[in-house]
Assembly symmetry: C2
Homo-oligomer: 369 residues x 2
Amino acid sequence: MNKVGIVGCGITPFTRDDQRIESILLKSAKILFENNSEINKDLIDAVLVSTNNNSKYLSPILSEITGIKPKIAHSIESLCNSGTNSIVSAYSYIASGLADMVLVSGAERYDSPGQVLQWDNSRGEFKHPIFWASIFAKSYKQKYSISDEQLALVSVKNHKHAKENPNALSKKTYSVQEVMDSKKLTDDLKLLDCSRPCTGGASIILASEEMTKKITSMPTWITGIGQRTTSASFTKNSSLNSMESTKLSGQMALKMANKTINDIDVAEIHDAFSVCEPMALESLGFSNNGEGMKMIKETNSTDDFKINPRGGLIGCGHPLGATGIAQTIEISQQLQLDAGKRQVDDPRVGLVHNMSAAATSSTVLILEK
Amino acid sequence: MNKVGIVGCGITPFTRDDQRIESILLKSAKILFENNSEINKDLIDAVLVSTNNNSKYLSPILSEITGIKPKIAHSIESLCNSGTNSIVSAYSYIASGLADMVLVSGAERYDSPGQVLQWDNSRGEFKHPIFWASIFAKSYKQKYSISDEQLALVSVKNHKHAKENPNALSKKTYSVQEVMDSKKLTDDLKLLDCSRPCTGGASIILASEEMTKKITSMPTWITGIGQRTTSASFTKNSSLNSMESTKLSGQMALKMANKTINDIDVAEIHDAFSVCEPMALESLGFSNNGEGMKMIKETNSTDDFKINPRGGLIGCGHPLGATGIAQTIEISQQLQLDAGKRQVDDPRVGLVHNMSAAATSSTVLILEK
């Protein structure tokens, strides 16, 4: 298979601002082109927009306002993992030979319609993701005797990481007690256990091996891709304590990259809610079942492996269509040793985990320099 | 590049019915699987949904209700050429090696939000596509001295073809005089000059060369792909008498297939409005500029070359996200000699032309058996 590299990226601050979706798209693309003046827009063959916004024809709109006349132009939606779905689609356009260079731009508004799970009748009245997250939390805590105080570490850690990320929504750090004392939303989740929907954009450019080597002497390569959708409905999940789609995606991505989980030096994990982080780590094989929190605690004080160095969804905020792209940008910047105060010690291999709707769908990417 | 074949298809009747988008998707997929019992759903690696509907997560929903657990699952939107964009994306997943078999399912409701061109401020108050079509019609008629009576032939012919298509919205035929006497919508367009938005679905399965040969002894191959987006806004079009994106897409697709326009035996042309058919024929190189209507008149009475044998958008109706897929299915069935009373004499090479928003974006596909 043809190699595909990452040759540029741009990201907006994540906020609660009321901005037009077109403005958010333009903003991150503009930052990308300012950061990467060596990229010739005339050589961009495809523009893919990742969003849950209801506006139509956003790729031609973004193309027109940025001065690109692409061959391929369309939007992609898959709720919270729209971003990595778009990156994988860009990868396939390049690896198939239909494109040499692809701009992928993700954007969302704080009031995204993707936050409401309209279709899933199995949830009865419960259309907000917090209901599946509560059931996951209750089940996981019971099965592995994990306390709310232990789970709170995910939020403490990710807010601490986010403080070093200038684009993160959260600017504060919190103690375990402060997480415990935050507003109780359900029996098993407090406000600070949850990622917040927000306004934000993230753009990335992927290119063929030849094009990548022309543009940069220090590329990041996408070497592993794993994806799986097991269902749309929460109640079709085979387990309430693990993430089947994440497990299958992780195995597939590692196999493609010819790596094992022990080779991973830095990881972005889809912590839509605090319980998701240990569950995903276990499903990916980073730790044994029930030992995800132990691993989070152990790695929290080191600099040679970090989970969610940019602050995760809990610290950064969660602009649905942009999240998977922002995660991929973080891992790329980590591999480039370009992550500022968030930098992990000399990482060689990174992992991105991005999922939708109670892990009914997952994407895992392996990146290498 | 790896070869990609068409191994199955299913299409619903096009109606004005009030159906849920999930039901429309399921219906065409169900027809596909009933028509092609040899297709093993467990081997479907990707499910792509083509629609302008605002519902989210439709690919996982379709996957769940049809019993597919795909790797890749997402929706694709690019207004009226969402369908062919989805087919090209499926092609790229297969040609890149990420997938062996892909289900592409397009669906739309009669009240699709894709009918309103919200973004294009250059149109002032005119958000309905009929306004760009009227300007195209006025300009084209003036430049080439074409009368309303001459243009009416497009509608007469496509309604006549649609009568032989059991899935078409229109069940009637009309005379030139009846088209002329139909309700005047603008100075330059009457009701029967327009395609009607409708409710409908179309599903197609693409597969790798190896998989295709296992499933069918009479495959259709996608041998040429051309795409171009020149802008999002109508007023950025370089000409009001030709379609730049169609011209570039046509050249690109023919080059990839190593064919000339004279090799084409049957064509589906995106006749959103009557004037689009001669304009597209000219931009594709089927005829000289200004001679599209002459060609339509000449080929109307023969059976060895047909333009829009299924009835085009004017005769079939236009369920936005399904249209490009329905066009591709028609050409595939024509090449398979499986088009019933619409059959063209032994075609070897076919062309699909699908576009969006005043031809600001076009896709051209070349199919061969």
